[in-house]
């Protein structure tokens, strides 16, 4: 009965937080939108999307971050700058739910320590 209740709980969680299950080590995806591909190209050259998706920032803060990253070599067409800031500000604003990170795998049996 206990195992069943855990399974049901996990299923409920999977439905409630589908983005968690879609993540992988090498290629977490940025959210859909007109700037998804360009943002991925500009940012993922140097780091994975986790560094972006864990932020919850104002538009002013995103503007600073984008301009800093362009200075550091992110390839953003000047014509796309404002749209990229809008895309990040809309998807990773302060009112979004907290990001839930994964953990690194444990080599021990998946049995919690007492």
């Amino acid at each position: 009965m206990y195992k069943l209740s855990v399974a049901v709980s996990l299923l409920l969680l999977a439905c409630a937080f589908p983005h968690i299950w879609a993540q992988s080590a090498s290629s977490p995806e940025l959210p859909a939108g007109p700037l998804q591909a360009k943002a991925t190209t500009a940012c993922a050259e140097c780091h994975d999307a986790r560094i972006i998706v864990q932020q919850r920032l104002s538009k002013a803060a995103w503007t600073k971050e984008v301009d800093k990253m362009v200075k550091w070599g992110a390839l953003v067409d000047p014509q796309d700058r404002d749209a990229l800031i809008d895309y990040l500000s809309a998807n990773f604003s302060v009112d979004k739910p907290q990001y839930v990170p994964e953990r690194s795998r444990s080599s021990a049996a998946k049995k919690p320590a007492k």
Partner: protein, 387 residues
Amino acid sequence: MFSRRDFLRNMSGAALVASAVNPLLSWATDAQIAIPGKEDLIVRSYRFYDLETPVEHFRTWLTPAEHFFVRNHTHEPSTIDPAQWKLSIGGEVEKPYTLTLAELSRLETHSVVNTLECAGNGRAFQNPNVPGIQWQKGAVGTGRFSGPRLHDLLQRAGVKSTGKHVMFRGLDEVPGKVPPFIRSIPIEKAMDSDTLVATHLNGAPLPKHNGFPARALTPGWIGAASCKWLTEIKVLEKEFEGNFMNPGYRMPNQPVKPGEAVKPEDTHPVTALNVKSLISSPQNGSTSRSPNLHIQGMAWAGESDVTRVEVSTDGGTTWHAAALGKERAHYAWRLFSYPWKAPKSGDYTIVSRATDGQGRTQPATPVWNPSGYLNNAVDQVKIHVQT
């Protein structure tokens, strides 16, 4: 001690809340990432690695290497051949020279137990939010670091009177136009007998993610002062000028209002850690079936000593002295414990507060600054007692 199994038993599916999702999923699903040598750490970033220790792994005075946090500013060296690795010592010195790893290993070794903490640990609790890796509680760990004294390496080179700062360069691989992660420390700290070129952590060679084959170890200071994969030590006439010295890793000279911009000239470099504590048990969000709890944690104070830890079980209204553990070292955290019997079933907020040898203590709420550094607000966990 609470376990995740206890946690699961005590939470119905309907009662699961977002704050409880992380520990549950990270154990019970395949949403886990293989990172050799690093076990069950919170992956803040995978490429490049930024890995946080979950508080439930803080059970011992020394943090095991597999649970020791990782803070990288850019990519790790793709390959390190110990036979080819070299460390150069130069700059404002009489006799610059180079060491191989074999030569470094033959030098007199010293050990320092040090609590290493990322300056940004606790950034996630700043309000308003600030950009950066959103560390919560576990960008900290305590290890026994061993290796030659930096003083001995510098003395052999003969530091000129013009030498005022010591710069560390690592083998980090830098993409694009990202500035290299190079920092410097004042000559006085570099010549301190406890500042090391560490080759070992807890008696074993440094894990690659923690700086193999050698890293600086600047005890009591923020982790960024202990550069990894060290390959060059250079004595400078003044502080190194680079992004990670300025504007990076600086604090406002005066307290600022949350959200307020600060001019670069009104800032100073972040150096020593401040006084801080962490509750490792019970876990936040857990339920206890017993009224008898053993509240445990650790407290540290950079270059200072922890003299007192207090625990509150009523959200900070009343405080009680915790017992400090016997294990101690100048730069290392002290374990603390406080046995407590909950008077009745219900929700409780447990808070810990440390005080150092200079009488400094932890603020009730984070002191905001634009980069979210040195957040040493009191720690708190919310639990439910159901007897």
